[in-house]
């Protein structure tokens, strides 16, 4: 028997169905993420689960107890929430907001016992918020407010926590911090957590189960490693342009569809930034010779017009080298990302040498002098600047 189960839920407003046929089952300590584009019905599902709007049809149970047949008061002991709506309680300290989480447990006048005070303190420590305790809630930053609201929910000591887009409005530092808190709540306190997220790449890192929603329909449900695929994301989010790599959790814009006049010798993860810098300025390019287990390879596939690649852990073969040489012959500039030229990468040294012999300019990020007359740069942006200048001269 699973801890929390939803069977054939039908959710929506005023009898208008927004999402149908929602099924899920969660054990204690599991995290469920709702993923889907804006307006797909994520919020409607969460609002129904948290009883802000009425369930149209179906059944939700906690340990076989029907959640819809119990009073708000009893429900509060099972489920706590963190909403997206901004609250603005005047003249309330963060500590007082957190203390309200004890509501279902305190007496008629809301008197806090020593035990309550201890739990409030623990909850604040959990979100790293002890320093905020005596500050006015409304003067906190978005990230701090979010942490305090989570502490309030922790304080409620319910087995289930529902969070509606807890990471929106937060910058990267707070996002990571917040997801860490949520993860430890699931792991250490066995909270069952349901939340919606905007960030696909974060969902696969934190969720035990994912509900993929598209246009009011459940597209898929399961473990993220099984159902979050490049294809699924492309379909669910209607990604016609651009690309999302679910393996490395990376978003790229569409490639530049022009004749490539630049060749980037990449590898070792050193060329990805160069690819993006060129793509951003609308410059088409080819790239090689990359090994297929290289991070640059994945990104090059999406951004380069042509990618010359070699299998993992073998020396670069002659045919690949010839292919690359052909591309270099037809280009204006060669960029060397300072990939290792030793061992199996020796082929790329030959490539640079070939480019120089062909009279091509080779712009390089290499710190050491390899004696071939490369034009050296310390950082990427001045190099890209020169590339742009050069291309403009050629064009005129």
């Amino acid at each position: 028997m699973s801890f929390l189960a939803a069977k054939d839920l039908q959710v929506g407003y005023h009898k208008r169905i927004v999402v149908d046929n929602i099924n899920m089952d969660l054990n204690k300590g599991e995290i469920l993420c709702l993923l889907g584009p804006n307006g797909c019905g994520k919020s409607t599902i969460l609002k129904t689960i948290t009883n802000q709007i009425e369930l149209l049809n179906g059944k939700m149970t906690v340990m076989d107890k029907d959640l819809n047949s119990i009073s708000n008061g009893e429900r509060a002991k099972y489920m706590s929430i963190v909403l997206t709506e901004r609250i603005d309680p005047a003249m309330m300290t963060a500590g007082e907001v957190v203390a309200l989480g004890r509501y279902p447990h305190t007496n008629y006048f809301g008197k806090l016992t020593d035990n309550d005070l201890r739990i409030i303190e623990e909850s604040l420590i959990c979100v790293n918020g002890m320093k905020l305790k005596n500050k006015q809630f409304k003067y906190l930053s978005d990230g701090e407010k979010q942490r305090i609201l989570i502490a309030r929910a922790i304080c409620q000591e319910s087995d289930i926590m529902v969070l509606d887009e807890p990471t929106s409005f937060l910058d990267i530092k707070y996002k990571v911090e917040l997801l860490n808190i949520i993860k430890s709540l699931a792991l250490k306190k066995s909270k069952t957590i349901i939340m919606s997220l905007h960030e696909i790449e974060l969902a696969s890192k934190i969720a035990d189960k994912v509900l993929l929603i598209k246009d009011g329909k459940i597209y898929d449900y399961g473990a993220p490693e099984d159902i979050i695929t490049d294809e699924a994301i492309r379909e669910v989010y209607n990604l016609d342009s651009g690309y999302f790599n679910t393996t490395i959790g990376n978003i790229e814009l569409p490639k530049i569809e022009e004749e490539a006049k630049i060749f980037v010798i990449g590898g070792g993860g050193k060329a990805s930034r160069i690819y993006r810098a060129l793509n951003r300025r609308g410059i088409a390019f080819n790239s090689g010779i990359l090994f297929k287990n290289d991070m640059d390879y994945n990104i090059s596939l999406k951004l380069s017009n042509k990618t010359i690649a070699e299998d993992e852990f073998v020396n670069i073969r002659e045919e690949k080298l010839e292919e690359a040489k052909e591309l270099i012959k037809n280009c204006d500039l060669v960029i060397d990302s300072a990939v290792s030229l030793a061992g199996i990468g020796k082929g790329n040294y030959d490539l640079i040498q070939f480019a120089i012999e062909e009279g091509k300019r080779v712009l390089s990020l290499r710190k050491e002098d390899i004696g071939l007359g490369l034009i050296n740069y310390n950082t990427i942006s001045p190099m890209i600047h020169d590339v742009v200048e050069y291309l403009r001269l050629v064009k005129n």
């Binding site: 708000n72 509060a76 489920m79 909403l83 709506e85 309680p89 005047a90 509501y103 006048f109």
Partner: protein, 338 residues
Amino acid sequence: MKKSIRFKIVFVALVVFLAYTIMLNLVSGSISLSYKDIIDVILGNRIFTELEYNILFKIRIPRIISAILFGIALSISGFLLQTFFKNPIVGPFVLGISSGARLFVGLFILSNISIGFIESPLITIFLAAAVGSLLSMLLVLLFARKVDNISILVVVGMMIGYIASAGTDFMIAFANEHEIAALVSWSMGSFSGIGWNVLRLSAVIIIPTVVLVFFLSKPLEAYLLGENYAKSMGIDIKSFRLVLIILSSILSACVTAFAGPISFVGIAVPHIARLSIKTSNPKILVPVLVLLGASFCLLADYFARTLFSPTELSISTVTSVMGAPIVIWLMVSRRKKV
């Protein structure tokens, strides 16, 4: 400053201030009594003359008690409305609730309708005011569901107030002189001429209502986080909202029925209270509102009586001058924040 110390200081200061305003109203007026005269009587060194006795027990003390009771009622009513609308700018007068009460009271005064089974005309007037308050409150709520902009809501409230006033004026046009005089003097708003029987009834209505509000401190505090959070913590939102509306309407109706429409107390007092005590916790705020609401009205009444003595100002004239600037300031400072 530690919160608990601040609470104690503010409470002591408010009690002293209330005592001071009571004394002020006791001694000042056309026949002046000195503090020494009163203390002498309390100590048993002398007894009041008949004139002094009549002035104190037939005029000043009833007036002081009515200022205290109605000041409390207006402040708590405003506080409930502000909690309900999550906005510091609303109050019974601003939302047109007082005017609705006035329209219905006018209807009863002018038409001499009596409700069969209720003998006391006082209770009839109170019930008329309560129905008027509730109806205009419902009207405001109807609009509140459509507009989430509070400025528009305030304008809607004012318009409802104007319509209600137009209704009252319409009735006045068809009334006889005697009735008009009664209505006009009533609708000016005043704490004067309120008899002990009215005070007894008002106390029976106001004191239990305020105690009830105090007993709702816990959900009132949770409600500050918004309805959805409040619901998730276990509050039955629908009935809680209904209770808020009914309690605030009863309070403002009672004031309007017996003292006439009094403006701005409901907005100004809760705001001054929050500023001085620096908390929104109702358990602390409600007692502060009681003390401050009473002293605010006593002070306003003192000014109304003495500023242009022997001419007496209507109480709303004074509360408007004291309260309106606070509302304007609130509006402006809120705009800045957003």
